[in-house]
């Protein structure tokens, strides 16, 4: 990774990442969090911040297909890797099956947990297309929702597995 030193003597790193299929080259500090790179530098504010401690899951993105809390990943760690954020889930006008199922099952209330939930669910269905209810619950147990009691979220994910 290329590094530059700024006027205060702080190192800046040149990071190449692919977000939702688009290549970006950005300059970050060693301690820049991936969530802040996405939100502040790339204006991808669909990724939310609820705690910045890895507790709530609202910052969940897919890093090379795996769900991670982007508040616990350094931007430099994402160098050379592929990221999917909520903005990259729908194919242009057409919603992804999971997104559609969230809308149809009233699984969205305030919506703040929703992007993270959808990405966790997406990762689950990618590795396990026919999960049981318990597996769904486990897969989203790192994503806190204060509004729904998870009832309709679980329902929505299970329904998205149907053909």
């Amino acid at each position: 990774m290329e590094a530059l030193t700024d006027q205060d003597g702080i190192k800046r790193y040149l990071v190449n990442i692919n977000v939702n299929g688009d290549p970006y080259t950005v300059i970050v500090k060693a301690n820049t969090l991936l969530v802040n790179l996405l939100r502040d530098q790339l204006d991808l504010t669909g990724t939310k911040k609820g705690c910045e401690l890895g507790d709530c899951g609202s910052c969940t993105v897919l890093l090379d297909g795996k769900p991670v809390n982007s508040c616990t990943v350094l931007a430099v760690e994402a160098d050379g890797r592929g990221i999917t954020t909520i903005e990259g889930v729908a194919r242009s006008e057409k919603l992804d099956k999971i997104q559609e199922s969230f809308v149809n099952n009233a699984a969205v209330q305030c919506g703040y947990c929703t992007p993270g939930m959808i990405l966790s669910a997406k990762a689950l269905l990618a590795r396990n297309p026919k999960p049981t209810e318990q597996e769904v619950r486990e897969a989203i147990s790192g994503n806190l929702c204060r509004c729904t009691g998870y009832v309709n979220i679980v329902k929505a994910v299970l329904e998205a597995t149907g053909d």
């Binding site: 504010t45 705690c51 919603l95 559609e100 969205v108 929702c145 204060r146």
Partner: protein, 777 residues
């Protein structure tokens, strides 16, 4: 579904569903404005201390810092819920009163600089003795937190209806129990934030608020501005649950920083600061005494409570009154006494959390009544049926209850849960419990004294009739008021939900409404919306009458079609009539407003708890307890609600699920804990344990037929009511399973385990005592 309606009563998808699943929905923290600064508040590290000096010079010199402010830079006017209790300043002046009290604020180019600058502010404190327990706080000699409030008494209530002493004297059985609540926190997943932009003498604030109007009112008052020069705009809000109702301090600090710097300032709390600012649920100490006749009929009730208010009033006077006021709703009895002291302590202030003051007292009463039923040998469900409030009755504290299907709720819950088969027949370790509850559908009186209507609405039909926009001050914080109100507007106009647009919760473009609290919007905002829709329809039909050469009284409009009631073949579309209206007369606009009737009695505190209508609910839960560890495994919960006519069943059930989830968290796990210096020990979402997806049991949410005469289309509330019975219902299920009663919240595994251990020791103690007696004989 009711055939008479085309749009209401249907589970239409939420207005904002699509923007939320795609990440397009913008919350306050997602917004950016050119030249925007970042601001943060410096808070007190001490629970109680005198401020000797504040030196901001080092912070000011840090490159990138644009402003550092303290109490010297902002108005010193106190604010709070009511004039008699204005006790809070934007920044502390002489003293700090809890760990987290606001002392200064910084605006800088970026977050990192702001944090560095905060560290450079030197505050010299003289640490004072502090008090953290409400009972100790009101003892002689306790440290005085506010000079104006002797004995640290923030609110004192003594209400007496009928003759409780006489009722107890005449009762067959009188029982007293003492319960302990805990401090919990709303924990919306979106932290509070506000962006303030002071430009050309006008202040605009984008905010994660539950009530743009209150924020506008308080900000204007603090800064001496005209209401019209303050615009508060709600963005998408990531949940509130009461915590985003009152000012958070961010809007005041941000406004001052923006005025000084001439730049937009974004302020936010991180998760720990959220906990420190708090305003969550009060911890209450609750002594309940009931006198009953031999059939279990309640003759009199005395609720004697103390609550920990924390360092400021916040919305706490209302919480204090609500705590006692709402206990009379579910059961029919005449003699009631309510005593309450809300004490100041050196902890973060408590405010309104879902269900407001009611859930903990309800827990106490419902657990207590189960003990009463046991004393009398009556099935606890039967005891509730014998006492359940009936429709068209008045409570001892003078609340008028119109519709009330509590009996039907209990009966249906009994049926759904299999109560009859299960009660007394479940295997050991397994139990079933019931509790009931009730809640207001909007507070009868606004938070501050004003004769403004509770709600108002405007509907504008677009020029070509292809859409209509509802303008309402009602505040969607996730619960779905935008959707429900658009359904109501479309129904009243005879239009389509799909063609509705909404502009809501912007104090400049939408008419006044008090916002999202006290479960008020479906009834109150809905009334205004219905009226506005009907006004549109009336004008439309008059126009159609001219076009069709028919008397307007003969016409009606439904689902976008104007038709004659007598010759159905004569029709026009809504759109063509609306377009013609615009051509001939200009904008087609309807207006509505809602003011509730005068409600309640004349005694002190009588307005709190009044409402045009009350929801009722019964909840039953089935639990399994691990006798070795005390672990509580919730098998299933049944909620049966009387919430009047339902506008959107899917959203309604979502409210029940969420409320129950919150109630369950508070029942078993949730509690904000402090160290001996008043510092929060679990101010994060890892250690403040709210339920995750694997913790949630199966939930069945059902309704009973009901229609509220005082409401548009017969609606009532649901959002908060379902939180109220939950803790009592778990307590009763645990008791049924194990025969132990945990008298303090949360009903944690450890407490259940301890109670079991004590029971065992007692039993074996009794046995050995019995053995000793036997030996002696």
């Amino acid at each position: 579904m009711n055939e008479n309606y085309s749009v209401i009563g249907k589970s239409v998808p939420k207005m904002d569903g699509r923007v939320k699943v795609t990440g397009q929905a913008k919350y306050t923290g997602d917004l950016k404005f050119p030249n925007m600064l970042v601001g943060k508040i410096l808070t007190s590290p001490h629970a109680h201390a005198r401020i000797i000096s504040i030196d901001t010079s080092k912070a000011e010199k840090l490159p990138g810092v644009k402003a550092v402010i303290t109490h010297r830079d902002v108005p010193s006017l106190k604010y709070g819920i009511s004039p008699a209790r204005w006790d809070e300043n934007i920044f502390c002046i002489d003293k700090v009163r809890f760990v987290g009290d606001k002392v200064a604020a910084v605006a800088a180019l970026d977050e990192e600089t702001v944090y560095r600058a905060l560290k450079l502010i030197r505050v010299e404190y003289e640490v004072l003795p502090a008090v953290f327990d409400p009972v100790e706080a009101i003892r002689e000699g306790a440290p005085r937190i506010h000079d104006e409030y002797p004995m640290n008494i923030n609110t004192e209530i003594h209400q007496n209806f009928g003759d409780v002493e006489k009722a107890f004297a005449e009762a067959h059985h009188v029982r007293t129990d003492l319960f302990m609540g805990q401090r919990t926190y709303q924990c919306p997943i979106e932290p509070h934030s506000a962006i303030s932009i002071w430009e050309g003498g006008k202040l605009t604030v984008y905010s994660s608020t539950q009530s743009p109007h209150y924020h506008q009112y308080y900000i204007a008052r603090e800064f001496g501005l005209k209401m019209g020069d303050v615009r508060v705009i709600k963005t998408f809000v990531g949940g509130g649950f009461g915590g985003k109702l009152e000012p958070t301090g961010l809007e005041f600090a941000g406004a001052a920083l923006s005025r000084i710097t001439g730049r937009p300032v974004k302020m936010f709390y991180d998760r720990h600061e959220m906990f420190a600012h708090n305003r969550g649920r009060h911890r209450q100490i609750m002594e309940v005494t009931t006198g009953v006749d031999k059939n279990g009929k309640i003759l009199g009730l005395h609720a004697n409570f103390i609550m920990d208010g924390g360092a400021y009033t916040s919305l706490g006077i209302a919480s204090a009154y609500y705590a006692g006021a709402m206990l009379t709703l579910t059961y029919d009895f005449e003699n009631y006494k309510f005593d309450m002291i809300r004490a100041y302590t050196n902890l973060p202030a408590c405010g309104a959390q879902r269900g407001h003051g009611a859930p903990q007292p309800r827990y106490a009463l419902e657990a207590h009544l189960d003990m009463v039923a046991r004393d009398l040998g009556i099935d606890p469900l039967e005891l509730r049926l014998r006492n359940a409030r009936q429709p068209n009755t008045i409570t001892p504290n003078e609340f008028k209850v119109n519709s009330c299907e509590l009996t039907a709720c209990i009966e249906k819950a009994r049926e759904l849960s299999g109560w009859k088969q299960k009660k007394g027949n479940l295997p050991s370790g397994r139990g079933i419990g019931l509790a009931v509850g009730s809640f207001v559908s909007g507070a009868g009186y606004p938070i501050y004294r004003t004769n403004l209507p509770q709600a108002a609405a405007i509907i504008k039909v677009h020029e070509d009739g292809s859409a209509a926009t509802l303008y309402t001050g009602a505040t969607d914080i996730g619960q779905g008021s935008d959707t429900v109100l658009c359904q109501m507007a479309a129904e009243a106009m005879g239009y389509f939900y799909e063609n509705m647009k909404i502009v809501s919760a912007d104090t400049e473009t939408t008419p006044h409404d008090f916002g999202a609290y006290a479960s008020r919007q479906t009834l109150m905002s809905g009334s205004a919306v219905k009226q506005a829709g009907e006004e549109v329809k009336q004008q439309l039909l008059e126009m159609a009458g001219e076009m069709m050469e028919l008397p307007p009284g003969e016409l009606d409009c439904r689902e976008g079609i104007v038709f004659s009631k007598y010759s159905p073949e004569a029709t026009r579309t809504f759109a063509e009539v609306a377009r013609e209206f615009f051509v001939q007369k200009g904008p087609l606009v309807g207006r509505g407003s809602y003011t509730p009737p005068k409600l309640g009695g004349k005694f002190k505190g009588a307005p709190v708890g009044t409402s045009p209508a009350y929801s009722f609910a019964a909840q039953i839960s089935e639990v399994e307890i691990d006798g070795e560890t005390g672990q509580i495994d919730v098998k299933e919960v049944w909620d049966v609600h009387d919430c009047g006519m339902v506008i959107n069943p899917a959203l309604l059930r979502g409210q029940v699920h969420g409320a129950l989830f919150m109630g369950m968290g508070e029942s078993v796990w949730e509690e904000v804990v402090f160290d001996k210096n008043g510092r929060i020990l679990n101010g994060n979402l890892g250690e403040y344990r709210m339920p995750t997806a694997v913790d949630m049991p199966k939930i069945t949410s059902e309704l009973v037929e009901s229609y509220e005469p005082a409401a548009p289309w017969g609606v009532k509330e649901v959002g908060e009511g379902a939180t109220i019975p939950t803790m009592g219902c778990f307590s009763n299920a645990i008791y049924d399973a194990m025969g132990v009663r945990v008298y303090s919240l949360p009903l944690s595994y450890e407490k259940v385990w301890r109670a079991l251990k004590e029971k065992k020791e007692m039993e074996s103690g009794l046995k050995s005592a019995a053995g000793r007696i036997y030996d002696k004989c």
